[in-house]
Symmetry: D3
Subunit: 268 residues, 6 copies
C-alpha cells in the first residue's frame, strides 16, 4: 500500500512530528480513519482489498486538499468478518471488540483536540458497527462521522455496472477494478472466477434488509464477476469517490461539530 | 396498545399455550420480534411511538396470514436512545446491553425450534444495532432478519410527504399520522409544534451518512411537521407497510434458512 | 394484558404526554417497574404468567391511588430463566444482561427526575438479580426498591394453600388461580396436570436455601397442583397483594430517598 | 483466624496433598467455600468479621464430621460491599467481578471432581450475588448451594435477641457476640458504640424488601447494639449454626446432585 | 499459614480496628497485598505454595519494620492458572476476572487513603496480570507496585541452585525448600518426584520469552528437583527476600507517589 | 514504512493470494504479528516508532528466510498506552480491548491452520498484555509466542549504550538510532531534546519492578538522550535483532507446538 501520495506530501498521522500535529490543530483539521478488514477475496485478489481502498482514498484526498490540514490516522485494518472465516486468509475481531477499537481510536483522536473525524470504511460487515460506534461516541460528546466508501457513489455504481448490478460485491467487478487500478501487481487475473451459484441466488426474503452472510453462501469465495473488471473502470470509480470525499472534508472543515445546547422548557 | 387484532385471533407468543407453540413448529412458522424505544416524541405524542408501530404491524400481519403460523414475540420495548435522554420520558439501554438483549431473545426463540425470525424495528437509533445483532447471531447459525419498518416504504414516504421530505421524522408528519390512525386517543393535536430550527439545519456533512444525533439538535423535541399529519395518511402508510411485511413473511415461510455447506477446495 | 385499568385512567409511562410526566414530577411520584419472564407454565397456562401478575398489580395499584401520581413503566418482560429452556415457549436473558437491563431502566427513570422507583417482580429466577441491581444502583445514588409480589403475602399464601404449602409454584395452585382471575380466557383448564414427581422430591439439602432449578426437576413443566386453583382464590390473593402494594406506594411517597450525609469522625 | 480446628485435623483444601484430595473423591465429599467481606465493623470489631464467621463454621464443621470428607476451600475473602466504602477498612469488589469470582471458584472445584459444593456466606451484600451465582452455574451443570449463615438460625436469633430484634446487624449484638466467642483478642469492648440513629430509622418502605444500604445510613458504623453482646451468646449461636451446617453436609453427602433427565413429550 | 508473626504484633489489615487503621494513615503507611494461586504442586507439597510464600514474606516484613506502619492486606489467594487445571487441587480465575480483582482491591485500599501499595506475587501465571493491573490503575491515579518475589533474588537463586538453574520451578528445589522452612508439617518428603521429562525439554524457541505453559508439559506435576531441597536453603532464601522487601518498603515510605504535573508546551 | 523488503519478495499476509497462503501451510510456516503503539515520541521522532521497528524487523526477517515460509501479519498498530495520552499524537486502546484484539487476531491466524505464531512487540506498555494474551490463548490450545524486540538484545544494549544505560528509552538513544537507520527522513534531528529531569529521577522503589508510567514523568516527552543516536548504531542494533529473530523463526519452524498429552495418574 501507498505510504505517501505521489506528491510526497506527508499526510499520515503516524509519520508526523509533534509540532506538525500541534500546528494542524490551529486550522480546523479533518482526520480520516480508514477502516477495513483482512479476508479472502477470491483466488485473484489479495487479502487486504477492504482496507486498501479506503486507505488509498484517504491518502489521495489528504494529498489534494491544501487549504486546511487533512490527516490520515493509522488504519483500523482488522474488522468484523466472522462470516468469511473458513476461507483462508481471513482474520476477524469479535463484534464488541471491533466496536470498542473504533471507539477507543476516535476517543483518543478527539482527546488530542481533533474534532472533525471521519471513519471511511471499506468492508460490508463493518458498516453497522461503524455507525453504532459513532452513535455511541456521541453520548460522550465525541463526534465521528462513519461512511462506507461505496455509498458515496451508488448512482455511478448502478449506472456503470456491466455485471454486478451496482453492488460492490466481493472480489467481483468493482473491487477487482479498484485493485487493478490501485495495485495491479497484487492481482492475478489468470485466476479469476465468478460466482455462478450466487448470481442465481437472490432470495426474496432480502427485500428490505440484507440477510446475514456466511462463507457457505459463496461458491468460489467471490461475489460478482471479476471478468468484466478493468483498471480503467477502477480509476473512474476511484476518482469519483475521491472527489466526494474531498467535498465531504471541505464541508466538515467549514462546519462546527455539535455544541452543547441548554435544554428547552420541555425538560425537567 | 392492541393485544389482539380485531379478529380476536391469538397471535402473541406470550399468550399461547404449550401445545399451540408445539403445533406451530410443524408448519415452518415465522416469528416477528417488534423492537422499539421509549422516548419523548414531542408534546403531542406518547412515549411509545417507536414500539407501537412495529407492534401493531406485527399483530395485524399475523392476523391476516392464515396459511401458516405467524407469531408475535413479546416486544423488545426498550432501545438504544441515549441521544434523547434529557427529554422527559426517555429510557435508554446501553449499546452493548441492547445488542445482547436482541441476541439473547433471538437465540432463545431459535432454541425453541423457530427458524424464521424477523426483528421489525421502529426506532432510528436501533437500526444499526439490530443489523449487527443479526450478523453476530449468524456466527452461531442463528438466523434473524432485521428490518426497520420505514425502509419497507421509502418510495411511498418520499412520494406522499407534504412536509418531511420522505423522512420518518420524530413526532413529525408520519409518526404523528400513524399514531392518529392507530391510537388517536393518545395524541393531543392541540399541543403540536414543529421544529423550525432543524428544518434550517441541513449540514452538508450529512452527504453520505447521518450525523449522530443528540437532543440539542431538536428545538422542540420534534423533527418534522406534525401539522400536516392525519389519520388518513397514517392508514394509507400502515396498509402499505402491512402488505410488505405480509409478503416478507410469505417469502420467508417458503424459504429455508441457510444450511451448512462444505467448504470448497479453496479452503484449508 | 390490560392496557388501562377499568376506570380508563391513564397510568402507563409509555402512554403519557410530555407535560403529563413533567406535571407528575411536582408531586413526589412513584414509578412501578413490572419485571417478569416469558416461559412455559405447564400445558394449561400461557407463557407470560410471570409478567402478567406484576403488570396487572401495578396498573390496578396506580388506578386506585389518586392522592399522588403512580406511573407504571413499560414492563421488563424478559427475565433470567435459563433453567426453563428446553420447555417450549421459554425465552431467557443472560444473567449479566438482565441485571444490566434493570440498571439501565432504573437509571434512566431516575435521570428523568423520578426518585421513587419500585421494581415489582413476578419470577423466581429474577428475585436475586433484581435485588443486586438495586444494591448496585445505590452506588450511583439511584434508589430503586426491588420486591417480588408473593413476598407481600407469605402469611396468606401459607394459610390459604390447599395443596402447594404456601409456595407460589409454577403453573400450580396460585399462579393458575391468579390467571383464572385476571385472564380466564388464556387458561385451558382441561389441560391441567400436576407434578407428582416433584411433590415427592423434597431434598433435605434445601434446608436453608433453594437448590438452583433446572427443567429436569419438573415432570410436566409444572410445580404444584393447578387442580385446586380457582378464580375466586386468585381474586382473594390479588386483592391482598394490591392493598400491600398500595400501602407501599403511600409509604414511599411520604418518605424521602436517602440523602447524602457527611462522614462521621470515624472516616478518613 | 484458625488454621486448624482444635483437633489438629487437616481440613483446608489448600493444605492438602494431591493424594489426599484424590482419596477424598472416592467418598462423596462436601466442599465448603466460605464467602465474606472486608469492611469496617464499628470501632470495636476487626475488618474481617464477615469472613471469620463462615470460615470458623466451615472448619469446625469439617472437624466434627468423620464419616465422609468435608473440605474447606480457600475463603473468598473479598465481597460486594460498596455501600461500606467511606468507612475506613472497607475493600469492595464490583458486582460482576464478585459474581465471576464465585463462579470461577465453584467451576474449578467442580472440574476437580467435587460435586457437593456449599458456599457459606457471612455478609449481607453477598446474599443475592451468591444466590445468582449458584443459579448461573446450574446452566453449566455445576451445582453449588448458596447459604448465608444467619439464615440457618433465624428462629434462635429472633428468640434470643435482647436488643437487635433477630437481625444479625453490623457490629451489633450478634456479630460482636460471635467475635467475643471466636476471637476475643480482636475485639476492644471499651470502644463499643451503638447506632441510636438507625434504631429510630425504620422506614415503612422496607415492608417487603430491604432498602439498599449506604454508609450514610449508619451513625457510628454500627447497626445494632454491641453492649448486650457476650461470648456466651456467641458460643450458643455458633453451636446452633454448626449443628445446622453439619446436618446440611450430611444431607448433601447422602444426596446426588441433579442428573440429566430427558425431556418429556411437552418439549420439541 | 501464620496469622501473626512470632512477635505477636498485629499486622493484618483485617484484624485491625478502625482507629488503628486511621492512625496508620498519619505516617505514610505501606500496604502489602499478597497475591498467589491455589494449585497442585506435586505429590509432596500442599496446594497453597504460591500464596503462602508472599503471605509469610509480607507478615515477617511488617513485623520487622517499626519505624512506620506496614500493613498486610487480606491475600488475593486465587490466581490465573488455567494451565494447571487437570491437576487435582487447582482452582483458577479467568484472566479478566483476576485483573479486575486486583484492580478493585487496590482501588479500595487507595480510596481508604493508603497511597503506598505493593502487590507481592508468588505465582508465575500472575506475573503479567499483576503488572498490567498496576499500569491500568495508573490511569486512575491509583499507584500500586507489582513485584514477584523471586525477582528480588535472581542472583542468589542462580548462585545457590544445585539442580534448578536459578528457576523458582514448581514444587522443585526452591519452592520445596521454602515450604520446608515455613511449613514443614505440610510437606511429605517421602512423596517427592522430579520431572525428568521436562529437564530434557528445553525448546530453543524459548530464547526470548517463556512459552505459555500447560499441564501436559509436566510429567509428574513438578518442575524441577525437590530432592535437593532443604529447610536451610529455604531459610537462606527467605531471609534474603525479606531483607529486599523491607528495603523496598523503606524506599516507598520515603517517597511520594506520583503527583499531577502540568503538561509542558508540547501538548495542546 | 516499508511494504516490501529490498528484494521485492512478497512477505505480507495481506498481499498474498489464496493459493499462496494455502501453499505455505504445507511447510510449517511461521507467522509474525508486529505489535506496536501510536504515541508521541519527542519533538524529533514520528508517532509510529513503536510499530515501525517490529514491522521492519518482521519484513526483513521474512525476506531473509528462504527455507520455509515466514509471513508477516497485518500489524496491530494500536497499543495500550494511556500513560502517553496528553502528549499530542498518542492513541490508546483500553487494556481489555487491546488484549482481546491480540487474542482475536491470533485465534484467527490459528484457525487458518498456521500453528507457529510470534507476536513481536515494540512498545513497553504492551509487554505484559502480549504475554497474558499468549497465556490466555493457551487455554484454547492456540499457541502464540510473545516477545518484545529489545529483550532479544539486552546484552548488546547494555554494552553499547553511551547514555541510556541499556534502556530502550522513549525517543532516546536507541529508538532514535533505529529510526535514523530505518526511516531517516522522518526524524528531525534539529529538534532533539533530552530528559534532564527524568535522568535524575531514579526512585529506589523501582528495585524489582518498573513503576507504572505517566506522562507527567517525562519533562520533554522523551526518556533518554537522542543526541548520542546515530544511523550506524541503529543499523548495528537492528542487525543483531534481525539475526535473533531469524534464529527464533528457524527454531520454531523445527519444533512442534504442544500436543495434547494424557494426564498422568496424579489426576482424577
Amino acid at each position: 500500500m501507498l505510504v505517501r501520495p505521489p506528491s510526497g506530501k506527508k499526510v499520515l498521522w503516524q509519520e508526523m512530528l509533534r509540532h506538525e500535529l500541534l500546528a494542524a490543530l490551529d486550522d480546523r483539521p479533518v482526520v480520516i480513519v480508514p477502516v477495513g478488514s483482512v479476508e479472502q477475496h477470491g483466488p485473484h485478489c489479495p487479502q487486504d482489498v477492504d482496507i486498501s481502498i479506503p486507505y488509498h482514498l484517504a491518502i489521495r484526498t489528504a494529498d489534494e486538499i491544501n487549504d486546511f490540514p487533512v490527516i490520515v490516522a493509522p488504519p483500523v485494518t482488522y474488522g468484523f468478518t466472522h462470516y468469511n472465516m473458513g476461507e483462508v486468509g481471513t482474520i476477524t475481531l469479535g463484534l464488541e471488540v471491533f466496536i470498542a477499537v473504533l471507539c477507543d481510536v476516535c476517543r483518543s483522536i478527539w482527546a488530542n483536540g481533533f474534532q472533525r473525524i471521519i471513519m471511511v470504511n471499506g468492508h460490508g460487515g463493518n458498516l453497522a458497527p461503524c455507525w453504532v460506534a459513532s452513535v455511541k461516541l456521541a453520548e460522550e460528546d465525541v463526534w465521528a462521522l462513519a461512511i462506507t466508501y461505496w455509498n458515496m457513489a451508488t448512482d455511478e455504481l448502478a449506472a456503470w455496472s456491466e455485471a454486478d448490478d451496482g453492488s460492490i460485491g466481493h472480489g467481483g467487478e468493482w473491487e477487482t477494478s479498484l485493485q487493478l487500478y490501485l495495485r495491479p501487481n497484487l492481482v492475478d487475473e489468470s485466476l479469476r472466477v465468478k460466482d455462478e451459484w450466487r448470481q442465481k441466488f437472490s432470495p426474496p426474503v432480502q427485500r428490505y434488509a440484507k440477510f446475514p452472510e456466511r462463507r457457505r453462501e459463496m461458491q468460489n469465495g467471490v461475489m460478482g464477476d471479476p471478468f468484466v473488471a478493468s483498471a480503467e473502470k477502477g480509476e473512474k470509480l476511484f476518482n469519483v469517490l475521491k472527489e466526494r470525499l474531498i467535498a465531504l472534508c471541505v464541508d466538515y472543515h467549514n462546519e462546527e461539530p455539535p455544541k452543547y445546547r441548554e435544554f428547552g422548557s420541555h425538560c425537567p
